[in-house]
Symmetry: C2
Subunit: 107 residues, 2 copies
């Protein structure tokens, strides 16, 4: 009983639960910004291992959690791999131009 899978149920905020503050705080870190840029570049989903970041796996998990909690990315579980994607639609709806402005920045 209780299907012992205590893998976090992977909860994401609804649109109206997202705040610009949380999004800005999520984007205001070089590692997380790199993650967002990679997700934006490759239009498809990217597994955690497919992300190139200069931190260990546990730290990566930490960053992905923050991005997910802010509503910046969505995660989908498939077997043992977790696929991540940008929540472009929701971000553009709530904060039109914000994501594009960030991505437009020269590296």
């Amino acid at each position: 009983m209780a299907a012992t899978t205590h893998l976090t149920p992977l909860v994401h905020p609804e649109r109206d639960e997202m705040t610009v503050e949380a999004v800005l705080r999520a984007l205001a870190d070089p590692v997380r910004l790199a993650i967002v840029r990679q997700l934006a570049r490759s239009e498809a989903e990217v597994s955690c291992g497919g992300l190139e970041v200069p931190v260990t796996k546990s730290t990566l998990t930490h960053h992905l959690g923050i991005l997910r909690a802010a509503g910046v990315i969505a995660g989908r579980q498939d077997g043992t791999t977790r696929f991540n994607s940008l929540r472009r639609n929701d971000l553009d709806e709530l904060f039109p131009g914000l994501l594009d402005g960030v991505l437009a920045a020269r590296r």
Copy 2:
């Protein structure tokens, strides 16, 4: 000689010295976000004392310094009062849509 005025010469970054990271970090604080919103609302310049923020003067100085160093605001000295304004043009040029997206957020 040396015109003893050691009031900080109020240096601002040029456009090509501004980074999206610094801007995001500057915006990712509730107090600073409130400052930016107030500057955006009142199209004119606002003195430090005219800003409504829930912190002491010294902390306000600290926040204005960060916003200025990131290139988000400009400061102009006039007597003992310091007038602040949003660098809309520069921000829109470098990160088109970013500022508008932030300001579009529901409070």
